[in-house]
């Protein structure tokens, strides 16, 4: 969790917004530091997080998370974090026939299938447990990174359907928050947009207004 970014977005773990879809786009650069930020932010906010990690392994996020003050292994053991490790699961799906439908079942199919098994997995992971006591504040879905689904043979329509289903279920039905990441060309119009420059350091990221970097001033 980067404190400066929290200040810029005007949020703290105590009072984060719900029911929103946040899209992280990076073009020609690596925006993965934002994924680490949001992951540690929502874990610190005591939310139940379902993380579909398609591009890197669990230990990568764990090691960076430790730098930012959260332990993913502990969160997973406590049940706060449901982690789908795409790389490891893909190897299992491709090389062994699975008995039950697997979230990444589409890897075995020749034609472009749909992402229904993955959606079922997400819904199952985030549905509230009726045990009476509410341990977690509200659920969050994080996907890193959605363009990998395009690389794996899913059509753009299937991916958009998946996003739509997730949004409908997660944002409105269960009042949750979704974060996606995909590399893209920067899109243009937004109502209110702010531009900052950033510099990543070993354990934090500092943000500053354009042209105000200490290296330049």
């Amino acid at each position: 969790m980067f404190v400066e970014l929290n200040n810029l977005l005007n949020t703290t773990p105590d009072r984060a917004e719900q029911g929103k879809l946040t899209l992280l786009c990076d073009a020609k650069t690596d925006g993965s530091f934002l994924v680490h930020h949001f992951l540690s932010f929502y874990l610190k906010a005591n939310c139940k997080v379902c993380f579909v990690a398609l591009i890197q392994s669990f230990s990568h996020y764990n090691i960076v998370g430790q730098k930012l003050g959260v332990s993913l292994t502990v969160a997973r053991e406590r049940g706060q974090l449901v982690f789908l490790e795409g790389l490891k699961s893909a190897v299992d799906v491709v090389f062994q026939a699975q008995k039950e439908p697997h979230p990444l079942q589409f890897l075995r199919e020749a034609n472009a299938g749909n992402l229904k098994p993955l959606f079922e997995f997400v819904r199952e992971a985030l549905k509230p447990i009726d045990s009476g006591e509410a341990r977690w504040t509200y659920p969050v879905l994080l996907v890193d990174d959605i363009s990998v689904l395009l690389s794996l043979g899913m059509g753009a329509v299937a991916v958009l359907d998946f996003i739509h289903y997730c949004r409908a279920t997660v944002c409105w039905e269960l009042k949750l928050r979704i974060l996606w990441r995909r590399p893209s060309q920067p899109t243009a119009q937004r109502d209110q947009s702010f531009t900052y420059q950033y510099k990543i350091q070993d354990k934090s990221v500092s943000f500053f207004a354009k042209g105000m970097s200490p290296a330049v001033l």
Partner: protein, 428 residues
């Protein structure tokens, strides 16, 4: 710029950088640290694998690419569990060299090799590997090869283009006590006894395509499916992922795949813009990455990206690879006759470096790199000017002054050096 020297702060514990392959769900990205499960006996420290060293930045286990200059540019070497993608140059003359250096480094260090190709039999590829330059005689050969004329370039203090002096020099000579990264003589062949002593596996597609290897149904082209199956088999059989109880492996598997994506693999990604198999290559890379991340292996892939018609596929391939290095040779292009590039054979572009277990990566500050293949060595150097087309207007003024007021010869030479700086360095 990453320092090449091994970190001094952890001098005593180089051994524990190796992932404990005996645990079932380990990945090769485990950070160095004390062994979690302490045994009663003080237990020998994990034996460090030959030819590897921990990264200075995050303790990641690194192997050499076979070119110490390239290792330096990549932040110390290639991390175990990652893919190095080489974008082939147009006529595929220099990328096979990098491929062979990687394999030769594996043989010298005693790593296991897996060579996959469609054009050449892997046995022939191994016969053509360059011979290693050993420490004692390489210094002598190196001196006569590189410095056959006295070039006091390194001693000139740059007066006006002083910023260049701050750029680190790329190491192009052999370091006498380095066990990580060796130099090779491209004009000689690897000794036969070294090749025979090594453990290698070959995958030659024309032979394998007709075999009846049991293949799980998958939507990849048959060539890719068979290759994935072959790689997974070797990793499991030889214990590189720690899941085989009979085999305790303490070695690195170096995988080399040549010309991936070319039509010889059965893939039409280089022929058509929206072919039927447009996702085969990216799926293959994804599953390969999954295999690598959970085993003690490193992979080099050469790919003719200049032939891929669909630019989106190139972006996806880059996204799915860890390190991407592009080679651009000057043969046949207008840069061949450009006097600025006359000393070099081509440019080398470091397109992507991964951020593994870290927020930041060791991105080199130097972007203008060129390579040349000398009689024996492949060297990478900083290429001085990169934007020749647009010259700072003040240069014309300087040139006019020189023509009008002829300067003594030594000063003239210094002036030409100054004038060919990149246009974004404003010195006036």
């Amino acid at each position: 710029m990453a320092a090449v020297a091994t970190c001094g702060s952890s001098a005593g514990s180089t051994g524990s950088a190796v992932a404990t392959a005996s645990k079932s769900n380990v990945t090769s990205f485990q950070r160095r640290g004390p062994r979690a499960s302490g045994t009663n006996d003080s237990g020998p420290r994990l034996v460090s694998i030959a030819g590897t060293r921990p990264s200075v930045r995050n303790g990641q286990l690194l192997v050499s690419t076979g070119l110490p200059a390239l290792d330096q540019l990549l932040g110390g070497g290639l991390a175990v569990g990652t893919v190095l993608l080489i974008e082939e140059d147009k006529y595929n003359i220099y990328s096979p060299l990098l491929f062979k250096y990687f394999l030769a480094e594996g043989i010298v260090n005693g790593h296991t090799l897996l060579v996959a190709s469609t054009k050449e039999d892997p046995a022939n590829i191994l016969q053509e590997l360059p011979a290693p330059l050993l420490d004692d005689k390489c210094k002598k050969e190196f001196d006569e090869d590189v410095y056959n004329h006295k070039t006091p370039e390194s001693n000139i203090k740059m007066k006006i283009a002083w910023r260049y002096q701050l750029l680190p020099k790329i190491e192009i000579g052999p370091v006498s006590s380095s066990r990580f990264g060796h130099y090779y003589d491209a004009s000689k062949r690897m000794p036969q006894e070294l090749i025979e002593a090594s453990n290698w596996h070959g995958f030659f597609l024309p032979e394998k395509i007709s075999s009846t290897l049991k293949v799980e149904p998958c939507s990849l082209t048959p060539g890719y499916t068979k290759l994935l199956q072959f790689i997974q088999n070797i990793i499991y059989e030889e214990g590189f992922d720690g899941s085989n109880p009979q085999k305790k492996q303490r070695n690195i598997l170096r995988i080399g795949i040549q010309n991936l994506g070319s039509p010889l693999w059965g893939d039409d990604i280089c022929c058509a813009e929206n072919g039927g198999n447009s996702h085969s290559l990216t799926k293959f890379l994804y599953v390969l990455r999954g295999l690598l991340r959970t085993s003690l292996s490193a992979c080099i892939i050469t790919m003719p990206t200049h032939l891929i018609q669909n630019k989106a596929v190139i972006a996806r391939v880059t996204n799915l690879s860890d390190i991407v290095v592009g080679l651009e040779s000057f043969i046949g292009s207008e840069k061949e006759t450009n006097p600025l590039y006359k000393d070099y054979h081509g440019l080398i572009h470091i397109r992507q470096i991964p951020r593994l277990n870290n927020l930041i990566c060791d991105e080199s500050d130097v972007k203008d790199l060129a390579f040349k293949l000398k009689r024996k060595l492949f060297t990478i150097e900083i290429c001085w000017p990169s934007h020749y087309s647009w010259i700072h207007p003040a240069n014309y003024l300087l040139r006019a002054l020189i023509l009008l007021f002829p300067l003594p010869r030594t000063m003239q030479i210094k002036m030409t050096t100054i004038m060919s700086y990149p246009s974004n360095w404003y010195i006036f």
